[in-house]
């Protein structure tokens, strides 16, 4: 057999592979393999049979069916569970060097290997030609390293995903409370879990389940939160001690602490107004606070209407409803 036949075989194999129809790929599974199961030891959610992992896989399947892009789905999960669930770290931010270091290693190592070899023997006839100067050789070596780096970066670049860190934590509305509880319990020490904890606590708070919300807010405050997170937790803690236990002064104290962290926050002002009105029986004090709430520019229209109603009632001197 000759090289011609070899070439023909090679062309056949390569063509067969490149002209193959796109396999019906399982997008949900491929995405799942890139997400760490937050309650397991280093398994992806595609592999793990645990309930939270299955919950997350179901979310991904639903999103794929809705026609969302991979990028959108990954961003949603990262927003809900923090960047530490990405098994496939982005070529950006804190994990940029992770991708660069191996490429550098190839370049440096390749340079070292080449430096172990004698330059090719120069034929007699060309002896007159000057040998490459050290400068020239260094430059050539540098070019080789750069070229290797560029090729490797281009390869890596194919897989580059957009920045997904620094997203505001969003309420992972499609993830069950049980899953969130499990994830939080398994990642107690992770500072990035605070956002998820707050989201879950808020969910309990809105359902009126103070029993469950309370410990989470406490944990948020203990876990070095951002001022906004602390404010959100303090505001609701304040409301709960009032609404649940009738503790008026403690409630106002907590909400005041929250307002120090985030002055003019309409929700904190409104809740403080309710406590002042219903707890201290002070409609005038409440009316002042409701007025401050209405000064906020970006209030939802229906919220604005209900605060205006409360303001009117309080201004009339009636007791709270």
């Amino acid at each position: 057999m000759s090289w011609t036949l070899t070439a023909a075989l090679a062309v056949f194999v390569v063509a067969a592979v490149f002209l193959a129809p796109d396999p019906a790929e399982d997008r949900a599974r491929a995405l799942g393999e890139r997400i760490r199961c937050p309650v397991c030891q280093g398994e992806s959610i595609a592999d793990s049979p645990s309930d939270p992992a299955r919950d997350m896989m179901n979310l991904i399947r639903a999103r794929v069916d809705e026609g969302r892009t991979d990028q959108q789905i990954i961003e949603e999960l990262v927003g809900a569970f923090s960047g530490s669930v990405l098994l496939d770290p982005p070529v950006a931010g804190a994990t940029l060097w992770l991708w660069i270091l191996p490429v550098l290693a190839v370049g440096v190592g390749g340079g070292l290997v080449l430096s172990r070899f004698r330059p090719r023997k120069v034929p007699q006839s060309r002896l007159s030609r000057p040998a490459p100067t050290p400068l020239k050789r260094t430059a050539m070596g540098g070019m080789v390293v750069l070229a290797a780096g560029a090729i490797a970066m281009a390869t890596v670049g194919q897989f580059r995903q957009g920045r997904v860190d620094n997203l505001a934590p969003i309420d992972p509305a499609n993830i069950s409370n049980e899953t969130l509880e499990a994830v939080i319990a398994a990642n107690r020490d992770d500072p990035q879990i605070v956002g998820m904890r707050l989201a879950l606590a808020n969910r309990y708070f809105e359902d009126g389940d103070y029993q469950r919300a309370f410990p989470h807010y406490e944990a948020v405050i203990e876990a070095e939160p951002t001022p906004i997170q602390a404010g959100a937790a303090l505001t609701r803690l304040g409301w709960m001690v009032f609404d649940g236990n009738g503790e008026v002064e403690l409630a106002i104290d907590l909400i005041d602490q929250a307002l120090e962290a985030m002055p003019e926050d309409p929700f904190a002002l409104y809740l403080k107004g309710r406590v002042v009105w219903c707890g201290r029986d002070d409609p005038n004090g409440a009316a002042v606070l409701f007025g401050q709430v209405l000064a906020a520019p970006d209030l939802e229209p229906d919220v604005r209407v209900s605060v205006e109603t409360d303001l009117a009632t309080a201004q009339a001197g009636s007791s709270c409803q």
């Binding site: 194999v13 595609a46 793990s48 049979p49 960047g83 098994l87 270091l101």
Partner: protein, 674 residues
């Protein structure tokens, strides 16, 4: 009593180690190998006594020992009660000490048998082994003491303990038993000792290297001995890694075998560096080059075993901040620092020994392909190291958690692996110094054609997925290259004897194999690695996954199998309760097997260890896992693993190559010496 015996063993081992350092240093000074026999025996005796005392305490259910109380249960059956002896941190260090003692014993034997006049490297290496042994017996006597006596027992374990063997003991009635995952499969009793043999075996080449550096004895003497010792460790390490992957596949019920978990990475990194050394040592033996590099590799391989132990035993993987919770973490980290700093200080102060190594002639040569192989293997190890340590570094610096998982490793490693396969195919066909490109191409033509033929066959009958076809082509190329090399040489030498009959050819093949056993053993290992590559190509790209809810009597079709859920079952065994489902598997209407995926409940554990049931066929495995089982029915996970047996077969063939090389070499000096 066991505590007293055990501590006596540890202290004996410690004393023997110090003694060995003293006699070893003296021997290295005067060039004599006498006087080290007693300390070596003392170390081995002490280490064996400590291990036996621990095992006896486990077998005798002596819960007055903290280690037994917290890691053993009366119901733990044989052989898992024995395996509990190394299942937890303290016991694993005892086994470490014992294996190190055994390696020291063999090293001493080989040093004495060499009968080299004025041998200084041998005694020096024994002294280095003594230093390492001091460390490991030292931590057994202090921060990882397995013979602490329980002074405050609770119902199911021990909450306070004393290092004094005569302390007033309080024994709980029973213990929690070992981690259920560790008693779920027999492989767990074999795989860790294998891995330890590989890990600890790498101390021996390190000892020779450090000895040569300290004594300023460059040359190839240390290298020959180091290479042989590395081959021993490499064979065990290869077996240990493959068995570990197999265990993960059989037990962990996720259908995979390798997750780039830090524990797995810790075993892979030294393997990669040791593999690089096995090749680069040949370059120095044949061409005198790469002297400095070879020192770097033996030091690196040993350091990586300590790093791996630190990563897996200190809790640092869970969180950077948790590693100080156990005293062993900082101690191991300190030892690692000492090893690396001390070795490289030695290296730097003796750089004149290795500075003027000759330059090589051409990249297209045997040494060129070895250099390429070393580049690829060390970059591979570097990628694994970076990916493993990166999350720890990020967390230590910024407190943020990042995860580095399989997608990162695959992207980085797959191109390296293909390049390695190419080098494995081409390398053996090159000649030393400078290969003639035209002759090289000619001798590679047939392997290339066979490989492409295999690729075409895959395209026609199996799949057109690029990675699978590429893995088949590359893997077949490696195997075909080795086989064609053997046939070419046999044919040539048969022709030289002016006869070409087929009978003579098989005889000629045998002669070739016997003439250069270590070379052909290496080719066998290459073939094993090639099979692994093909297996990975198939399983990673062609596996199918699905799940189904079933009630008794239900049927489902999955990947060509007809699965029928017959009935649930519940069995109570001595140490566990087993709940599972009987699934009948049929192909083309014919029942081929009955699979029983199950959940095993150990002791008071209520969550259950899901255990898969596997049906193996030539084309691949059917892998069934119970996700959930209750009165209403089961949630069954179904996976296929096409060609996965290629991985196990390839791994064992690769390790078999190491074994062949070792046994073939041992025969040679016997005939030569007598």
């Amino acid at each position: 009593m066991f505590a007293l015996l055990g501590i006596a063993g540890i202290l004996t081992g410690l004393a023997g180690s110090i003694w060995l350092v003293v006699t070893g240093v003296r021997g290295a000074r005067h060039g004599t190998t006498t006087g080290m026999w007693r300390p070596v025996q003392t170390i081995l005796g002490g280490a064996a006594l400590a291990m036996l005392a621990l095992e006896a305490a486990l077998v005798a259910d002596d819960f007055s020992l903290e280690y037994v109380a917290n890691n053993h249960a009366r119901a733990t059956p044989f052989p898992f009660n024995i395996a509990t002896g190394w299942a937890a941190l303290e016991g694993s260090i005892v086994l470490w000490g014992l294996i190190l003692a055994v390696f020291t014993w063999f090293t001493h034997r080989s040093v004495v048998r060499q009968e080299r006049e004025g041998d200084r490297i041998g005694p020096g290496a024994l002294a280095v082994l003594g230093i390492v042994a001091i460390f490991f017996f030292g931590i057994q006597a202090t921060v990882a003491d397995p013979f602490r006596v329980c002074t405050e027992a609770v119902a199911n374990g021990c909450v306070a303990a004393s290092p004094l063997p005569w302390a007033a003991a309080q024994a709980p009635p029973d213990g929690p038993g070992p981690n259920p995952l560790l008693q779920n499969h027999i492989l767990m009793a074999i795989h860790p000792p294998m891995l330890y043999l590989g890990f600890i075996g790498l101390t021996v080449p390190f000892a020779y290297g450090i000895s040569a550096l300290a004594l300023r004895e460059g040359g190839v003497e240390w290298l020959r001995r180091s290479r042989r010792a590395t081959l021993v460790a490499w064979t065990f390490l290869t077996t240990g890694i493959v068995l570990g992957a197999w265990w993960a596949y059989e037990v962990l019920s996720w259908g995979g075998y390798w997750g780039w978990d830090p524990v797995e990475n810790a075993s892979l990194m030294p393997w990669l560096v040791a593999t690089a050394f096995l090749h680069s040592a040949l370059v120095q033996i044949r061409r005198g080059a790469l002297q400095a590099w070879n020192f770097v590799l033996v030091i690196g391989a040993f350091s990586l075993t300590i790093l791996g132990t630190f990563l897996t035993r200190s809790g640092v993987i869970g969180s950077v901040h948790s590693f100080t919770q156990s005293a062993i973490g900082p101690v191991l980290l300190g030892f690692l620092f000492l090893v690396v700093a001390g070795s490289f200080w030695l290296f730097a102060t003796r750089s004149h020994l290795v500075a003027d190594s000759p330059r090589l002639d051409s990249l297209v040569s045997r040494e060129g392909s070895f250099l390429l192989n070393n580049l690829l293997l060390t970059v591979f190890a570097f990628v694994v190291l970076t990916g493993t340590l990166y999350p720890l570094v990020v967390e230590a610096i910024s407190g943020d958690r990042v995860a580095v998982g399989p997608p990162f490793f695959s992207r980085m490693v797959v191109p390296l692996a293909f390049a390695l396969l190419l080098a494995m195919g081409i390398g053996p066909h090159t000649t030393w110094k400078e290969a003639d490109p035209a002759r090289l191409a000619e001798s590679l033509r047939l392997p290339v054609q066979i490989a492409l033929g295999a690729g075409a066959l895959t395209v026609l009958i199996a799949t057109r997925i690029g990675y699978v076809v590429a893995a088949v082509v590359a893997g077949t190329f490696v195997i075909a290259a080795s086989v064609s090399l053997l046939l070419n040489r046999a044919r040539r030498s048969a022709l030289a004897r002016s006869s070409g009959s087929p009978v003579r050819l098989t005889g000629e093949i045998r002669r070739q194999l016997a003439a250069e056993p270590s070379f052909w053993a290496g080719q066998l290992s290459h073939a094993g690695v090639a099979l692994i590559a093909i297996g990975i190509g198939f399983t990673s790209n062609l596996a199918q996954h699905s799940e189904v809810v079933m009630e008794p009597g239900d049927r489902v079709v999955f990947a060509g199998y007809d699965l029928a859920y017959r009935s649930p079952f519940l069995v109570t065994e001595t140490s566990r309760r087993v709940q599972g489902a009987t699934i009948e598997v049929a192909v083309d209407g014919e029942v081929v097997t009955e699979l029983r995926p199950r959940a095993n409940y150990y002791g008071a554990d209520t969550s259950g260890i899901s255990t898969p049931a596997i049906h193996t066929a030539f084309t691949g495995d059917l892998y069934l896992t119970l996700v959930r089982i209750d009165a209403a029915g089961i949630l069954l996970r179904m996976d296929t693993s096409p060609g996965i047996w290629l991985l196990w077969a390839g791994g064992l063939i690769a390790a078999g190559g190491g074994l062949w090389s070792l046994t073939a070499r041992r025969r040679a000096p016997v005939t030569a010496g007598v």
